[in-house]
Amino acid sequence: MLALHATMRSMVAPKDALVAQMRRGSLQYCVLALLARRELYAFELIQELAKADSLVTAEGTIYPLLSRLRREGAVETTWRESDQGPPRRYYRLSASGKTALTVFKNEWRQFRTAVDVVLEGKEHGCL
């Protein structure tokens, strides 16, 4: 009985860890989605992301993510002069980033529906 209780307790992740886990899979696509609307430089992009609750807890952690997206060719960049300081690197969505975003959007809709069906006990098509 004690063992069962301990197992149940270990399955309940702390709220922060739970949100971090969900954010991990979706954050990069939120970045791509923002870049699909318009070209942004990193600071602008992070401030846009930060407007959405729970998406960014530490703004500095977005830079490694942007670096990876650059390396993987999901985004393209251009350096532009700025009136308010050093040149800025502007990010825009590449063709492969666009494809990845489309794939994610479709998968996300299906996944979200599936989870809602299970969580809320609703039948398919009734949501």
Partner: protein
């Protein structure tokens, strides 16, 4: 220096320390980006240079250096060697065949069958290795016979100069390829070392070869044949080591291949 500047310097120093495992260029790039971000955030939040508490709030938004380093570790691909065990075996056999043939000049071993069998073994492994695409396997296999026939043909037409011309060009191409590989930041150091060992082996075998040429009982025709047996498998080994690309290094961006971020 304002007190807040010291706080920022200490933060950046801590971040640099947390990122010390990154290559210097990448680390500097991150530090520059984070530094600019702090400046922009400070401006955005209206934090004055004298207000240490406000600067601490800015840094709180940027995040703990350890958290940024963790995000960088997740976003940085692990350096996986492009040489799997079969690829290494293949390249080693090809390189070894040259050295053993070189030793054969001194009469310890029979250069003909040892060289041929090791060369065949190396190529056989290459055909089973996942690290090379079909065109690379074909070129790797045909490289030795092609250069050999070319050198023999040129010997017939242009004599000794023609032969050394072929070997000179092949050597030059090899070193150019290795120089190109050495400049690639995506190659792990271990792989570069593997590819760079081969020139050393070649140097060794050329010495053996030159020594063999001076053997009074050997005519030029025999020498060409022996030198070819020594050097040609090395050209194949070098070509294959430069072209090796395990499938896990795919550069194509697809959601399924993306690990995690942020």
């Amino acid at each position: 220096m304002a007190a807040s500047d010291r706080v920022i310097d200490a933060y950046l120093h801590e971040l640099a320390n947390a990122l010390r495992w990154l290559p210097a260029a990448e680390r500097e790039e991150f530090l520059g980006e984070i530094s600019s971000h702090i400046e922009a955030l400070r401006h955005d939040m209206g934090a004055s240079r004298d207000d240490v508490a406000a600067i601490r709030k800015v840094l709180e938004r940027v995040g703990e250096p350890v958290a940024i380093a963790r995000a960088a570790a997740i976003a940085t691909p692990r350096e996986r060697s492009r040489f799997g065990p079969i690829e290494l075996g293949s390249i080693s056999l090809l390189a070894l065949s040259s050295v053993l043939v070189g030793v054969g000049f001194f009469g310890f071993l029979d250069p003909g069958w040892i060289g041929t069998s090791l060369w065949c073994g190396g190529l056989l492994l290459a055909w089973f290795a996942p690290g090379w695409r079909l065109p690379d396997k074909v070129v790797g296999s045909l490289l030795a016979p092609f250069v050999f026939l070319l050198s023999v043909g040129l010997y017939e037409g242009a004599g000794w100069i023609g032969v050394w011309l072929v070997y000179g060009v092949a050597l030059g191409m090899w070193f150019a390829a290795l120089h190109f590989v050495w400049r690639q930041s995506t190659w792990p150091t271990r792989d570069k070392r593997i590819a760079a060992v081969l020139p050393a082996l070649l140097g060794l075998t050329v010495v053996f070869g030159a020594w063999g040429l001076e053997m009074p009982q050997q005519g030029h025709g025999v020498a060409i044949s022996e030198i070819s047996w020594i050097a040609l498998p090395l050209f194949a080994a070098a070509y294959l080591s430069v072209r090796c690309q395990l499938p896990s290094h795919s550069k194509h961006w697809h959601p399924d291949l993306v690990s995690v971020g942020g």
